[in-house]
């Protein structure tokens, strides 16, 4: 399974235009399952723990908006100068895929993240 996920993130990084980083992590425990980072000095475990924490914190604060419009968190897009970070969560909130890219084509980023998240879910959970 580990090799399949490693191969998956490598394939994803190659396919996403101008990708800086891609990773798959478990939301429940914040552990990274596979990654490909182009940022020197990045500790993937810290990165995944931060993202899992961000995800949980965002969910908590959704409690402040009216319940009928809050819903459960599915995706986060963060635009900064010259880069985009995109986190996509699977329907059962078990895995999340994170991508960072310099490309401004958010459409292709979302399509590819969905495609590889579905593949990762299949590899990890077999469905």
């Amino acid at each position: 399974m580990e090799e399949a996920l490693k191969s998956l993130v490598q394939e994803m990084k190659n396919e996403i235009p101008d990708a800086i980083a891609v990773g798959i992590f478990s939301i429940k425990d914040g552990l990274i399952l596979a990654h490909q980072f182009d940022i020197p000095g990045t500790d993937p475990n810290i990165a995944s723990a931060v993202h899992a924490n961000v995800f949980r914190t965002f969910e908590r604060f959704l409690g402040l908006v009216p319940e009928e419009i809050a819903g459960s968190l599915k995706a986060i897009t963060l635009s900064v100068e010259g880069a985009f970070f995109f986190i996509l969560v699977d329907d059962e909130e078990r895995l999340a895929i994170i991508t960072a890219t310099r490309s401004s084509n958010l459409g292709i980023l979302r399509v590819l993240a969905r495609k590889y998240l579905d593949k990762a879910v299949e590899i990890v959970f077999g469905s």
């Binding site: 009216p66 819903g71 897009t77 963060l78």
Partner: protein
């Protein structure tokens, strides 16, 4: 007044906004905003949006890598998609003192939301500078 009018233009362009609010980023206090359905909840909606931005800014302060710290410092936009809604938060002013947040049903296309904001973006920035 002018500023609220621009927020209304954004709401009208999108067509089905839950809310449009602008708030002071430092204090989290609302500057302007309206909602057809949730006028009574605007304060808590503003507080929620302020918390979301705080998460990013806190991440920027805590980031160990300069490249990440620099990237988060230049944060421009945050989009949260949930099973029911899409929330877009922008920092239109160069000094990033004011945030504008929009909430829409999830079936409103994200591209349309961004376009609707973008077409009034310059007016928004000008009106914000006057505040």
């Amino acid at each position: 007044m002018k500023f609220t009018e621009i927020l209304k233009k954004i709401d009208e362009s999108i067509g089905r906004c839950y809310f449009v609010v602008a708030f002071d980023l430092e204090s989290g206090l609302p500057i302007s905003g309206f909602s057809r359905q949730y006028q009574d909840s605007l304060e808590s909606i503003t507080a929620a949006n302020k918390q979301m931005i705080d998460i990013v800014l806190k991440g920027q302060q805590q980031a160990r890598l300069p490249v990440i710290r620099a990237a988060l410092k230049n944060f421009k936009e945050l989009i949260l998609e949930t099973s029911k809604s899409t929330f877009v938060i922008l920092l239109p002013r160069p000094d990033k003192k004011i945030a504008v947040a929009v909430g829409v049903p999830k079936d409103v296309q994200l591209g349309w939301v961004k376009y609707s904001i973008q077409r009034h973006y310059d007016e928004l920035v000008d009106a914000l500078q006057e505040l």
